[in-house]
């Protein structure tokens, strides 16, 4: 993301939450059929009372999570309609992990229908153009909100409330065209919630994954560098860290480059080894039996000579593809 986009994202969120979340309350009211004025706003993101100047970011998150837990409980017990919890922190524990993952939805709104249900609100700065929200943004927001709804339902179950009080309908707030005017879209994450639950149910336990690591393996940069003398030059340090990381085999695919910070490292390695996955999963699947891309190219170049015995099925497929290719190129030569 460009810094320009990040700045814009923060600006727009401030606009939506300004004046006691006036805009947000209006949109919640509009889309969930409640009159949302006056709105009760609880900002968990504001400096936490029990926090001290020395609190680490992690401690702050813990405190905010505890606040969220208390506020949501109070909200649901009293069922004050038209309340909004801004910047709450939810937690989710992955199987086999000791510390929870912290999630930060933009806002939770309590809607006053007969049950008083909770709705997740997500603010995105990609504009709605000509009445249509940016499909990529809407898709990403839906995936994100499904996780929030899942975590929130766990929280409600933990507090002894009915988890179904968290609505699967969520509100996406985006700017309208080039303006700062906010518009809302309601979308349902019910289906995504189901698939998320299935994914989480079969996700590998982290302790099981850790058992697979080589002995003495760490991803702690300082721990790796400490094994060297303090005056080791930069190239030596870099090479040591790289060699250490290479103890884990990489599962590189081109798609990694759009989201992973390590991808350039793996990309570089894939180029030097000629890993078929370098050219995408399609190529990887079709050249599955080949050691590397160079071996495939060699086999193709020698296809017209007497082929060696004992080729595997995959190598035979490459051989016949190469023969078809050569026949075609000969045909083109003939007509030219």
């Amino acid at each position: 993301m460009s810094p320009l986009a990040l700045v814009r994202g923060r600006q727009f969120e401030r606009t939506v939450l300004a004046d006691d979340a006036r805009v947000l309350g209006k949109l919640v009211g509009e889309h969930f059929g409640v009159s949302a004025h006056p709105l009760r706003v609880l900002d968990i993101g504001a400096p936490v009372a029990s926090a001290t100047a020395e609190s680490t970011p992690l401690e702050l998150l813990r405190l905010r999570a505890a606040d969220t837990r208390r506020e949501v409980d109070a909200l649901l017990r009293v069922a004050v309609p038209s309340s909004v919890v801004v910047h709450p922190v939810l937690t989710m524990t992955m199987p086999g992990s000791r510390s929870p993952v912290f999630l930060e939805p933009d806002a939770l709104a309590l809607v006053a229908d007969e049950d008083g249900r909770l709705v997740c609100v997500e603010v995105k700065s990609r504009p709605t153009i000509d009445g249509v929200a940016d499909p990529a943004t809407a898709g990403a927001a839906a995936r994100q909100v499904a996780v929030y709804v899942h975590a929130l339902r766990d929280l409600l179950a933990d507090l002894g409330h009915d988890p179904a009080r968290v609505s699967t309908g969520a509100l996406l707030i985006t700017p309208w065209n080039a303006t700062n005017i906010a518009v809302g879209h309601v979308f349902d994450v019910g289906k995504r919630l189901g698939s998320l639950a299935r994914q989480l149910a079969r996700v590998a336990r982290i302790d099981g994954i850790l058992d697979l690591l080589p002995d003495g393996f760490t991803l702690d940069f300082d721990a790796i560098v400490q094994t060297l003398s303090p005056d080791a030059p930069e190239p030596v340090r870099a090479a040591t860290v790289a060699a250490h990381i290479r103890r884990l085999p990489a599962n590189y695919v081109p798609g990694c480059r759009s989201h992973c910070q390590m991808s350039e490292f793996c990309h570089h390695d894939a180029i030097s080894t000629g890993d078929p996955a370098l050219l995408g999963t399609g190529v990887r699947d079709h050249l599955a039996g080949m050691a590397d891309l160079h071996a495939a190219a060699r086999l193709a170049r020698n296809a017209s000579a007497a082929p060696p015995d004992g080729l595997t099925d995959d190598e035979q497929a490459v051989l016949y593809a190469a023969l078809a290719d050569q026949a075609a190129r000969a045909a083109v030569q003939d007509t030219a």
Partner: protein, 489 residues
């Protein structure tokens, strides 16, 4: 993807040089296409915009830098300058005549030619339609030319989804259709690196790969490299905080210095891509698809023959959506099959994918007469016996699978009848599993006069080369388009 496509990429990677995938050009190119380059900033559609466009490789007709698109005056003024250029170019193609079809008696519009807009990548085309097409819809206080620009781009945006169309052509897509590079499919969307795979003049593979890696760092797409945006952000800030016209103009110039050079490079890159594509002779069916493009354009030109621009719906009606989907499906089937029939190099990939098989004609029987299922008289049905190296995937074990003879001229259809193992020959490869296939030719064989000679090598494919028309829906709301019952939030 098929084994040969994967192999060609592997060879390109091994060589550090692109490998031809086609011997003909499968997109029609006009004499003077309009090249349009656009960039925005990653993740933020209303950060500085830059547009460069023109028909002359050395001198772009115009370039527009919109420093703060959120400023309506600036945005509309900038887009109006582009709209002027676009409409100028398109107006040369808007004249049409009504021609009566002598058979049906229906009149339809015909234009002499059609415009062609070339953009660096497919995502630029989409961004262009979003920014200057949809973004100008229903806005007030802009010159009429902007509304016309919106109408044309919205129409082109709809056309963009049709496979094989050449009215709006992403250069990177066209290049990678004709050449296999040694990089991933996603990386193929980057025009500078695709060009470098084709044109790097370094003598060694390492040198060429270094050129390609350097080219990859350039961003000619619709989005800039986010890592470089920090400086740009400061300039935008300076622009927005400037309190007099001179300072603002200076800041605007600073922004232009940052965003304009890559777009000028992209502009030249598009023409370089066009020159590379022009080295290939045009495929026969490319002209046919261009005729379809011209017919579609003529319809649009007729709609534009009005005092105000045509209007487009944001969402299609269900019946409209179905006929659009059917038309897109037909176009895709056509663009999959026609190049296979035209071009031996693409045919080779079809063979590798199992869509076609090739073999030697062992025997022909041109006197065979049969009553076809739909007929009542005995007609000529020539029979061919073909020896293939491997058991063909098409018509594998199934009698009466429809196949088409890959031959120039009128299409010849047939069906496979028996597939039987054949005796090995000394010349066979150790891995060959020879089979004979009996094929009956059913149409296009000119009473048995147009059949392959014994001893020649022929190829049959299951891909139908004939363009067929989209199926029109007969009910108002076909079931896939009936909306779900709205769930209460």
């Amino acid at each position: 993807m098929n084994t040969l496509a994967a192999l060609r990429r592997a060879i390109a990677f091994d060589d550090g040089r692109a490998v031809p995938r086609a011997s003909l050009r499968h997109y029609h190119l006009t004499d003077a296409p309009l090249v349009v380059c656009l960039c925005t900033v990653a993740g933020e559609p209303f950060a500085p915009w830059c547009l460069v466009f023109g028909t002359d490789p050395d001198h772009p007709t115009g370039s527009v830098v919109i420093a703060e698109p959120r400023d309506r005056t600036q945005r509309y003024r900038g887009l109006a300058a582009f709209a002027e250029g676009l409409c100028d170019y398109l107006s040369g193609h808007l004249a049409y005549d009504m021609v009566r079809n002598p058979l049906s008696g229906v009149e339809h519009p015909v234009t002499a030619g059609a415009p062609q807009i070339v953009v660096p990548t497919a995502s630029v085309a989409e961004a262009l339609i979003r920014v200057a097409g949809v973004g100008l819809r229903k806005v007030k206080g802009v010159p009429p030319v902007s509304h016309w620009c919106n109408a044309h781009l919205t129409w082109l945006g709809q056309r963009l989804e049709t496979d094989g169309q050449a009215l709006i052509l992403p250069a990177a897509t066209a290049l990678t259709f004709h050449w296999a590079t040694g990089q991933g499919v996603m990386e193929d969307a980057n025009l500078p690196s695709v060009l470098e795979w084709l044109t790097s003049t370094k003598p060694t593979r390492d040198g060429r790969l270094a050129d390609i890696a350097a080219a990859e760092q350039q961003a000619w797409g619709d989005q800039r490299d986010p890592a470089r945006d920090h400086g740009l952000m400061l300039r935008v800030d300076r622009h927005n905080k400037a309190d007099n016209a001179a300072d603002r103009e200076e800041a605007r110039q600073a922004i232009a210095d940052e965003v304009l050079p890559p777009m000028l490079a992209a502009y030249r890159g598009c023409f370089q891509a066009l020159d590379l594509l022009r080295t290939l002779p045009e495929a026969p069916t490319a002209a046919e698809r261009w005729t379809a493009d011209k017919r579609a354009w003529a319809q649009h030109a007729k709609r534009c023959d009005a005092p105000t621009p045509p209007l487009f719906t944001v969402r299609d009606r269900p019946s409209q959506a179905v006929s659009n989907a059917a038309a897109l499906e037909t176009a895709r089937a056509r663009f999959t099959a026609q190049p296979v029939h035209d071009d031996p190099l693409i045919l080779a990939e079809a063979i590798s994918a199992g869509d076609a098989f090739t073999g030697e004609v062992l025997a022909t029987d041109t006197t065979n007469m049969e009553i076809k299922p739909e007929g009542s008289r005995r007609t000529k049905v020539p029979l061919l016996t073909i020896r293939c190296r491997l058991r063909p995937a098409s018509g594998d074990g199934h009698d009466h699978a429809q196949v088409w003879w890959v031959v120039s001229g009128r299409p010849v259809s047939g069906e496979t009848r028996h597939v039987t193992p054949a005796a090995r020959r000394d010349t066979d490869l150790p891995y060959d599993e020879p089979h004979t296939v009996l094929i009956a030719l059913l149409s296009g064989h000119d009473h048995g006069r147009r059949t392959p000679a014994v001893g020649t090598t022929v190829t049959f494919t299951r891909l139908d080369p004939r363009p067929s028309n989209a199926i029109r829906p007969v009910i108002a709301t076909p079931w896939p388009f009936i909306p779900d019952t709205p769930t209460s939030p």
